[in-house]
Amino acid sequence: MKRISRWAQVSSFLRLFALQASWNYRTLQGNGFAFAVLPILRQVHEGNAEGLEGALSRHIGHFNAHPYLAGLAVGAVARMEADGRDPEEIRRFKLAVKGPLGSLGDALIWSGWRPTLLLAAMVVGLVTGRPGLAVGAFLIAYNLGHLALRLLGFRIGWEYGSQVGDALRRLGLSKKADVLQSLGVLQLGLLVGVLAAESLGQGWWGGVAVALGGMGIWVGSRVGPRIWRVCLWLLVGTLGLVHLGGVWG
């Protein structure tokens, strides 16, 4: 294995934060991937400009994974490059790993960690009346998990290279996503309960709000996650019309 300096590894890891800087419809995260792996490629192909250019042309291609877990692929590919593995094997590895890393990250982070902590922050802000505390606690807790996952992914990738799949399975991230989503449902219930109790104390209109809310939850659950579009346009339309009604009335 070609010796790679600690600094090149750190630099590669830090560049992962800009993985999506040039996200585009031709190569998706491809340019960001090449940017992240570049410090290691420079050392692998030291004194061989043609070799470096050839390696870069292989890594700018189509790639897309969850940004927090993409480090796992970058670390593993960097390790395979340092080990002098066959370019075709590396290409096949990238192709195989991007889909699972995307769907696992979506379930674990976008549908688990993030909404659960955001809902908890909403409950804390409403109950304590201290929005700064709620938002500050959210940012700290969320980013502790975020940074740990990025670091862990890159380290596992670098350590295990092409065998990264087994190491990933041992982490049991799918189960953790499941637990996080259950916690999210509980937080959502807590938030709705706190808001309902608050509304019922507001008299007649509060009762109307609770009834409308109940109906809305039922309708939303029938339509599914794409309801956010309906929600957006319904609110924009209703608020706009009531405002205009007030102007002309």
Binding site: F17, A18, Q20, A21, S22, W23, N24, L28, N31, A34, L38, L52, E53, L56, S57, R58, I60, N64, S103, D106, S111, R114, P115, A121, V127, G132, F138, L139, N143, G184, V185, L186, L188, G189, L190, V192, G193, V194, A197, Q202, W204, W205, A209, L212, G213, G214, G216, I217, G220, R222, V223, I227, W228, C231, L235, T238, L239, V242, H243, G246
Partner: protein
Amino acid sequence: MEWWLLPLLGGLLALDQTSFGQFMVSRPLVGGTVVGWVLGEPMLGFLLGGIMELCFLPAVPTGGGQVPEGGPAVGVGVWAADSLEGEGGLALGLALGLLWAWLGSVSVHLLRGWNSRWVPVDGGGVGVRAGMVWRGQIVGLASDFLRGGLLCAGGMGVAAVLAPLLRGSWPLGMSATLAVLAMGGSLAVGGLLALWEKGGKRWRVFLAGCGLGVAWGVLT
């Protein structure tokens, strides 16, 4: 607050959501509270950001799909709400914030097309210099920052025109306004439940959470 600070913040929030880091500073709940705090109204920012957050929670960005962009939009929303004040301000701020979140998602789509012009593509074994990769990254980051700033400044301009025209026109009191918002927000809550549903088990967890929340609300 100096007017140009908000577009600057909008640019940074756009970077966080789309191009750099994803530290979630750009989430409507966080961005709204930060902008509210800068304007001296942190609770207003938290409320408005919280409602926008609830609407956008079911929107999961799978495979680079389009989702509403809350960061610069919540800045516009809180700015508008603060300009008009009261229930009418909340209504205008939320309507503009949601509309700008949609415009934000359209502008991200355009940005991705723009980025395609600057990134190197695989030329079938033709060498790619490191400078070409760097150029793609720098153009992407700078364009995204500019996009967020312009989006925010445009929204502030619209809010500055609308706020004097709509002053005193909102006919509903706070309770009725919140009832309207509950209607919209609850649809998103249902959508989120559907996203998390697992053979009916999670409805029971949700209802247990509701019970705990109501008990907390009544007892305190």
